[in-house]
Symmetry: C2
Amino acid sequence: MATGHIPEATVARLPVYLRSLTELAGDGQSTTSSDVLAELAGVNAAKVRKDLSYLGTHGTRGVGYDVRHLVFEVSRALGVANTWPVVVCGLGNLGRALANHTGFTDRGFPVVAAVDVDPGLIGSSIDGVPVHSPDRLAEVVADLGIAIGVIATPGGAAQETADRLVAAGIRSILDFSSTVVSVPDDVEVRAVDLSTELQILGFHLQRDLPPPGDV
Amino acid sequence: MATGHIPEATVARLPVYLRSLTELAGDGQSTTSSDVLAELAGVNAAKVRKDLSYLGTHGTRGVGYDVRHLVFEVSRALGVANTWPVVVCGLGNLGRALANHTGFTDRGFPVVAAVDVDPGLIGSSIDGVPVHSPDRLAEVVADLGIAIGVIATPGGAAQETADRLVAAGIRSILDFSSTVVSVPDDVEVRAVDLSTELQILGFHLQRDLPPPGDV
DNA sequence: GCTTGTGAAGAGATTCACAGCA
DNA sequence: TGCTGTGAATCTCTTCACAAGC
C-alpha cells in the first residue's frame, strides 16, 4: 500500500495496463476486473492485483475496479501528466523512423530535436524536427528542456554520443545502438537491441526444431 | 555444467557476450577474463562466470578464457550458425527501417520478404525486399522457409497480422505494435514497445527530479 | 456469491565467498 | 598467485490460496 516503492517488474508492466485501461474506457466500460485486465495485458490475474496493490489503489471486493479511477492512479504513478522532450541522435533508417514516430508525442515524449553528423542534414528539418550538429547538443538540450536522449547512431558512434548527452545534462537514455555504453551511475540507460531480440527467438527456434542445417 | 537448460536471463545476455567477444577477437586479444568481459558487457564478473558455466564452457583457472573458444561456445549455444529468414509485416516508418536494417542480415536473420496492405506497394521492392499482399503470407512463408515474423503494423492490425503469421506456420514473432497479441502456447512472442521504454524512463525521471509541472 | 488484497510459499536470478586448480 | 567454477545466501519476482469485505 501507499506508493512506497514500486518494484521494477511492476513499473515495466504499468504502461501495458494503462493501454489496456484506456482501451476499456474507450469501449465505454466503466468497471473491470483483474481477470479482464490480465487477459488484455497478457499476464495473470494475481499479478495484476499485486501490481495494482503497489499503487495503493483500491478496487472494490466482489465488484472490481473503476476504470476511470484506475486510469488516473496508473497515470499518476507513471507520471504521464509530465511531458519529457526527446532528442534523437543519429538519423539513419531507424533514427528517422523514431524521429517521426507519432506514438511518442502522443504519450508525452515529443521529439523536439535531432542530431546528426551529416552536414547535409544539419540545419534542415525531418518531419518538422530540426536537425542540429552534435556540437550544439548541450545548447539544444538546455534551450528545449530536453530530458531524454535516444541513441540511434551506428555502434561506433554510440559511446561518444552517450558522452555528449551526459555532458549536456541528460540523465535518461534509450539506446538502440547494439552496443553497451558506459555512463555515470546517476544516468539511466535502457538498451533496446533488435538483433538481440532476434537472437533470443533464434535460440528457442534452434532448441525446438533444429533445422536442416543442424549444428 | 553440460548444456542442460540455460536460464532465460542468461540466454538474454549471451548475444551481448558474443558481441563483446567478437570485439575482443577483432582487437587481436586471444585470451580474456570474466572481469574484462563483465566490463564490456556492462554486468558484473560473477554473473559472467555463472552464465558461461551454463554453457559447460571451461576457462582456465588462474588464466582466463580463450576468446576463440568462447566465441565458438557462445555461438553454438545461440545457434548462430543457423540462418532464420524473416518477414516484416507493415511498411510504415518503422517497418521500412527494419526491412533494410543491415544488422539483421549480418547476424543470420535476413529479411527476405515484406507484407503490406497498400496496393501501391504490393509487387514492388523496398531495398531489394519484395512486398507481398497479406493474403499471400502462407505461400511466401512456405516458399522462402521463413521462420520469424516481425509485426510493424499499426496497433489495430497487429492481432490480425499475428493470426495470419500463426496460420502461415510461424512460431516466433517479434512485435513492435504496442499491443498485446494473443497466440497459441507454442508460439513465442517478444514484444518491443518503444513507448513503454520511454514511459519507464519517464517514471524514474519523475521520481528523481519532479519537474516544474509537478504532480 | 464474487472479486479484491495480501501473507506465505515457491521459483528464479543475482551476488557472495571461497575452494579448486593452473 | 590469480582467476575460474560453484554451492550457499540473498534478493526479487511470481504464484498460490484464502481471509476480508462489498
